[in-house]
């Protein structure tokens, strides 16, 4: 049956289908949303959820079919398939096509995005039930999926940039989904603006590539195609470093790395499934994906790679420390996400692109599970997000607890769960490639990760119920539509890591090799390190449990003792304030005092403008006799002038 179908649907069409199915369901949902006032809300909502889910689900199946068909092909070079649709922009021999490209890398991403996306869509049915903007929510979520898939599957930088901007737009829309709340709308705006900084750098990078390639005897088709780029990477050698840095700044914006991470915690204002899908599992990994996609560029510039690695490591540690003290469950997860993204960049920075992508995949599973679990908790507690108002929910929400717990174990890197494999792989690669300092940072961060994750788990699920009486009887396990995706993600969090070897070999043809400085293999060392890090993580997880469940007074005491550090962490290193102080205020000050009052008024205004104005005004008054203010008169003089010019030209 399927085979028969496949004979009719060419694989190119199928690739398009992956991308377009969410768009179609998005369009339908927009229509629904636009006409929802005229439809009975129940029918509209069920239709919206049906349409909203079928899009991603079918896309997932399409991706699976593509995967299945492609893995049947032996030759790994033939693996990459492009489906050009038509020429989009064309000028002077250059052209940019609208085309998709499926290779190992994008296929893995597409599977993750559609798979996790589908689960989160299903989850959303339960989570968003009864919301006024139900069809709109699904429309935006589907649209996001479309753009994300466009980003992933694009075969050239420009189209990728379209997807890039598109997901930014959807992120903005969804963060501000409840736009009537001004704070939430502001959070959306912040995300949008901060992302623009990165996007600016990104587009500068694209321009640089373009400028460099223009006029070069490039081989292959459109110069911004990844394939052509890869083949002609040599031409880019002179500007590889600036290009890579520019692109990396773009990635920093999207993937929330220092210094552009500030938007992500605020982005938690959106509905929790949105946080799970966009701000944990998929969109924020776009930067990671982009660097992996352009790995052939990055290997040209060791400096850029190092910047990536150090930024990643710093972000990982930095965000983890903030995560230690946050009270809001979603904020904890947000900082955890930033930290994990740092890991991925760290991996990519040391040249282990495969490890980075692998961590991306497993992270998508367990972080989605964590977020959805948190969403479940929040849903059960009617919007309560403060960890210190939770506690003891194990009893009330057994399913959620189980998944959350498993996912927390996974993210902490406990064997044999998914996180262990990927994180261990990263740490090992870092260690193996000689970045011992970075390894130490990563190692410490791993401990912190375990600590804050179990801090959150303990506070939420163990101990006594600290929530108000009035909310107590409302606590209930989530509906089946929310639980099923949760459990599936939990299973994936457990088992996701077991594909470590196969994914490594699967992805290998896509990545340029980085010359290792120290080509020594320590088989034993790898195992030793793994065991150490598991123990290290387990230790901190246990500590967290002890501190927050058994001795609830300790955190208070600790906080009092290290008041300064605590408040530093609590306030996220005052980064927002620092930004305010070093960027916004000075800018305002300079604009106002220095430029306006200091320069503008005395010099430009008084001397420049008014002074010359006075001079001119004097002559102007003389000339004003001619100025009647009537357009025809001016035109008359103009005509005389033209006549003179024409006359001069003629004679």
């Amino acid at each position: 049956m399927i085979l028969g179908l496949l004979q009719h649907i060419s694989i190119q069409n199928l690739i398009w289908l992956i991308c377009l199915l969410p768009l179609v369901s998005s369009c339908i949902n927009w229509l629904l949303s636009a006409s929802s006032s005229k439809l009975p809300s129940k029918a509209a909502n069920s239709l919206a959820s049906f349409v909203g889910i079928s899009g991603p689900l079918l896309a997932f199946f399409s991706a699976l079919i593509v995967f299945w068909v492609l893995t049947g092909i032996e030759n790994s070079e033939a693996f990459a398939i492009t489906g050009p649709l038509y020429q989009w922009i064309g000028f002077g021999g250059w052209s940019i096509d609208i085309g998709l490209r499926v290779d190992q890398l994008s296929l893995v991403m597409a599977l993750v995005v559609t798979g996790v996306g589908t689960l989160i869509h299903i989850y959303s049915i339960g989570y968003m039930r009864g919301d006024d903007g139900y069809p709109r929510y699904f429309a935006e979520l589907n649209l996001f999926l479309f753009f994300m898939l466009l980003l992933i599957l694009a075969d050239n930088l420009i189209l990728m940039f379209v997807g890039w901007e598109g997901v930014g737009l959807c992120s903005y829309l969804l963060i501000g989904f409840w736009f009537s709340d001004i704070e939430k709308a502001k959070a959306g705006k912040k995300a949008f603006v901060v992302n623009r900084i990165g996007d600016f750098a990104f587009i500068i990078g694209i321009f640089l590539i373009w400028k460099m390639l223009a006029g070069q005897p490039i081989v292959g088709g459109s110069p911004l195609n990844f394939e052509t780029l890869e083949r002609n990477a040599a031409f880019l050698l002179p500007i590889a470093t600036p290009v890579c840095i520019a692109l990396f700044i773009g990635a920093c914006g999207k993937s929330a790395q220092i210094p552009l991470y500030v938007w992500l915690p605020d982005a938690m204002a959106g509905p929790t499934p949105v946080s799970a899908l966009i701000h944990a599992a998929t969109m924020v990994t776009a930067g990671v994906y982009m660097i992996a996609r352009l790995n052939f560029l990055y290997v040209l510039s060791p400096l850029a790679l190092n910047i990536v690695a150090y930024t990643g490591a710093a972000t990982a540690l930095f965000a983890a420390t903030i995560g230690l003290t946050q009270r809001d469950i979603k904020k904890v997860l947000a900082y955890s996400t930033i930290s994990q993204l740092g890991y991925m960049f760290l991996a990519e920075g040391v040249g282990a692109f495969g490890a980075g992508i692998f961590h991306l995949v497993t992270h998508a599973f367990f972080k989605a599970a964590l977020f959805l679990g948190a969403g479940s908790v929040i849903h059960a507690l009617h919007g309560e997000q403060d960890l210190f108002n939770m506690g003891g929910l194990k009893k009330y929400l057994p399913g959620t607890f189980a998944v959350f717990f498993v996912a927390a174990l996974a993210i902490s890197g406990i064997w044999p769960l998914a996180g262990f494999y990927s994180k261990d792989e990263i740490l090992w690669q870092v260690y193996e490639r000689g970045y011992t300092g970075l390894w130490v940072i990563g190692f410490i961060t791993a401990g912190m990760t375990a600590f804050y994750m179990f801090r959150a788990t303990s506070l939420a699920f163990f101990g006594n119920l600290r929530i108000g009486e009035d909310k107590k009887h409302h606590i209930h396990e989530s509906s089946i539509s929310m639980l099923v995706p949760l459990v599936l993600l939990g299973v994936l969090s457990i088992s996701g890591g077991w594909i470590k070897n196969s994914i490594g070999t699967f992805l290998e043809p896509r990545f340029a090799s980085v010359t290792l400085e120290e080509v020594t293999h320590h088989e034993n060392m790898e195992h030793i390190l793994a065991v150490i890090s598991v123990l290290w993580a387990a230790h901190w997880a246990f500590v967290a449990w002890i501190v927050y469940v058994q001795k609830p007074s300790w955190p208070e005491a600790m906080a009092n003792k290290f008041r300064k550090i605590h408040s530093l962490l609590m306030n996220k290193y005052f980064v927002d304030e620092i930004y305010d102080a070093i960027v916004i205020k000075p800018l305002a000050w300079i604009s106002e005092t220095a430029l306006w009052k200091g320069f503008d008024i005395p010099i430009i205004d008084n001397v420049g403008v008014n002074g010359s104005g006075r001079v001119v005004g004097f002559f102007g008054k003389l000339a004003a006799v001619l100025q009647t203010g009537l357009t025809p008169h001016y035109l008359f003089f103009m005509v005389i002038g033209i006549s003179i010019v024409v006359g001069w030209l003629v004679f």
Partner: protein, 164 residues
């Protein structure tokens, strides 16, 4: 011969356009002028352009202008043929000057020769296919630019016309 007939019509209607007291009548003469131009274009085998001249100019732009004239519902006082206050002399001399320069220019062009000789061979018939192909290949960039201009103009017109 037919050219001179049409050209005479065009000139007369053009003069009437600017000379009519009533702006509606003026607009109508302009329509007539444009229509005559379309006929001229048909004689030049530019069928598509002629059709578009009627469709766009006469059919859309001029209707719009008429619509606005009627919407404004000008009073008879408004419609009076008046000169710009007190400046007839300047304007009159200007027109004479202009005419002189133009006449001179024409005379020189005329003297330099180059009479109108249609190029031999086919390919000038302005069919939809031919002109369309040209628009989308050679003039693709201007085409796009014009479309952007149109968009901007529409937005501008809406914003300007909307008032407060």
């Amino acid at each position: 011969m037919i050219f001179y007939l049409i050209a005479f019509g065009i000139v007369v209607t053009a003069i009437l356009t600017i000379a009519s007291r009533n702006s509606v009548v003026s607009a109508l003469w302009l329509v007539a002028c444009l229509f005559a131009q379309a006929i001229l274009m048909v004689t030049l085998e530019a069928h598509l352009v002629a059709a578009m001249q009627v469709l766009l100019y006469a059919g859309a732009i001029m209707v719009l202008i008429l619509f606005v004239i009627m919407l404004l519902n000008l009073t008879p006082k408004e419609l009076k043929w008046k000169f710009i206050a007190g400046e007839r002399l300047i304007l009159g001399s200007g027109v004479i000057y202009l005419a002189g320069v133009m006449g001179l220019a024409l005379w020189i062009i005329y003297k330099k020769g180059a009479s109108f000789v249609p190029a031999a061979g086919g390919g000038t018939a302005g069919t939809v296919e031919a002109v369309g192909k040209l628009l989308l290949t050679k003039y693709a960039l201007p085409f796009e630019l014009v479309s952007v201009t149109l968009l901007v103009a529409i937005v501008g017109a809406i914003l300007t016309g909307r008032g407060k």
